[in-house]
Symmetry: C2
Subunit: 337 residues, 2 copies
Amino acid sequence: MAKRMTIKELAKILNVSISTVSKALNDSDEISPETIKRVKETAKLYGYRANFIAKSLKSQSTNTLGVIIPDVLNYFFVQLLHGIENEARKQGYNVMTCISHEKISNEKANIIALTNGQVDGILFCPSEETQNTIDLTHIEELSNNNVPFVTFDRSLHDIKASGVLSNDFFSAYDATNYLIKNGGEKTYLFASHVGLSVMKERIKGFKQAMREHHILKDSSVVEISEEKDYEVFIKEFLASTKVDGILTIDELLSVKAVKIATKLKINIPKTLKVIGFSNGEISAQFSPSISSVDQRAGLMGKEAVTLMIEMLKNENSREVVVKTVPAVLIHRETTKI
Amino acid sequence: MAKRMTIKELAKILNVSISTVSKALNDSDEISPETIKRVKETAKLYGYRANFIAKSLKSQSTNTLGVIIPDVLNYFFVQLLHGIENEARKQGYNVMTCISHEKISNEKANIIALTNGQVDGILFCPSEETQNTIDLTHIEELSNNNVPFVTFDRSLHDIKASGVLSNDFFSAYDATNYLIKNGGEKTYLFASHVGLSVMKERIKGFKQAMREHHILKDSSVVEISEEKDYEVFIKEFLASTKVDGILTIDELLSVKAVKIATKLKINIPKTLKVIGFSNGEISAQFSPSISSVDQRAGLMGKEAVTLMIEMLKNENSREVVVKTVPAVLIHRETTKI
DNA sequence: CTGTTAGCGCTTTCAC
DNA sequence: GTGAAAGCGCTAACAG
């Protein structure tokens, strides 16, 4: 960034002191209206813009929020980011974005990058690796560095931190009940990435619903681990098993399930109903369009910002607040009755 | 951000001067090895971390890049952002993201927010509104404020600025040729958002290919403006027109076209071949999977960062550099022969 | 080898 | 109503 007009230069031009200029620009009532006018006019004339960095150094706050998301190519997280961006901007905050790519090493680097005074607080979604490990020292360091932070979507089991979560348990419970009541007893959950906190909750919710209907079996939860085997695996499963309803733990699995079922000439939604999670772009555009649990990621992002800003306002209070955003089940062609 | 250890406090603790600490931490050869060791150990002990804001103020550079993208819920831009993020982080830069939502008013606000000294340079993709107007004063202001900036994807007609673009003309030309040669003469372009520079180029490329085969008609370019009418419009078009091949100017139109054609029992790819633009998530997952021009958005983002960093290195040179990233045509089921 | 000092651009207390 | 001066945390010329 090249040379720019400063308060100092303005003062010289106007033949007043630096502090007068500063006060005038901030509408201080210590300064006469005429001076204020004169200063402001000259400032405008010379295109003066206050230096944010200097202000930040002085005020010890940057009006900037750091965000760490696991994956930016995932529509769900992008919606979250969108919600965060929007709300932050609305509240006068800038957003500095980091992507962990689901790796704990990147996450550590991101945390280090963000805890050097550039941001007032951090909005943070733990990576998949982080959720699969018990070593959370890098996150404890956040507390040690006194960096206000809130988590979103995924939770940190041991560390108690403020955050905003989706009600994954209930969403899954609810969707499963729908499938059982409108489909039948042969309801299954397609699961993957089961190490993630959100997935665990969804599995619990599914099981709970199945249990209440006395139809939970060991085989009810179908874990599908390797992405490249998805289509083959599902094909074999659907060809060999009578299925009324499938709840899938993420969007991709729902797309694959619907695709394969269609190819196998299984009638959707008449004989098979499908509900996915994380209502993304594909669910709406696919043919047939796929019903999905919409976690209202944008709203979660917004709420995370709200939480953060409240936290920044009451820095003394170390109260831990956990907000829950209710999801909504969106019915499309794979469940149309 | 709460109180943190500073150089000053370290100096007090160590009973040396502030500058000694500073120099020691920066491995200055003015300082004895023992002192350096002592200082560093104490710094580590107390969890000292240099204050980035103070450094920035001193050095007049923030190691931060500003990014303005029109839409973060668009997979293409997200790929771009991903490429930018990755490369920037690799080069030791932070990224501050702004979203214009295709609105000139937001874009102005974003530019103002980013030109207050927080970023060393701006990577910028003009909003749709900006591309439809001739009022580019807010962008000229960037130059006036001496903020280094590069554009990406979309260009600024009048203002000459460095940037990285996709070769939209050639990609469209190439894809059209493919359709003509492997499909037939009844090839059409489905177009929308025609005010965008990239769309104009694609239309030109399409027309050029059609012209060279002496089959360009007024009706060859089918403009489809309102999103809500897409499906109805396309249905009527396909029902009333004999079509061998369709090139669509974006991803959504290709999805809609394939969906409707399938419903109309048109055999894809045998009687109708379809190629979309902006190879997104849906193209790959759709059934049939949709062939698409992949603009390698990630690479564009990376190149934009490279360009920016070179610019920052040679701040004296005001050379305008425009890079072009070649796209690649990805064949999927809608063009499989 | 270490320390003093000035200064990055800004705010703010305290004098005048 | 205005100005001088200190200081936010850091670096770097210059002195010692």
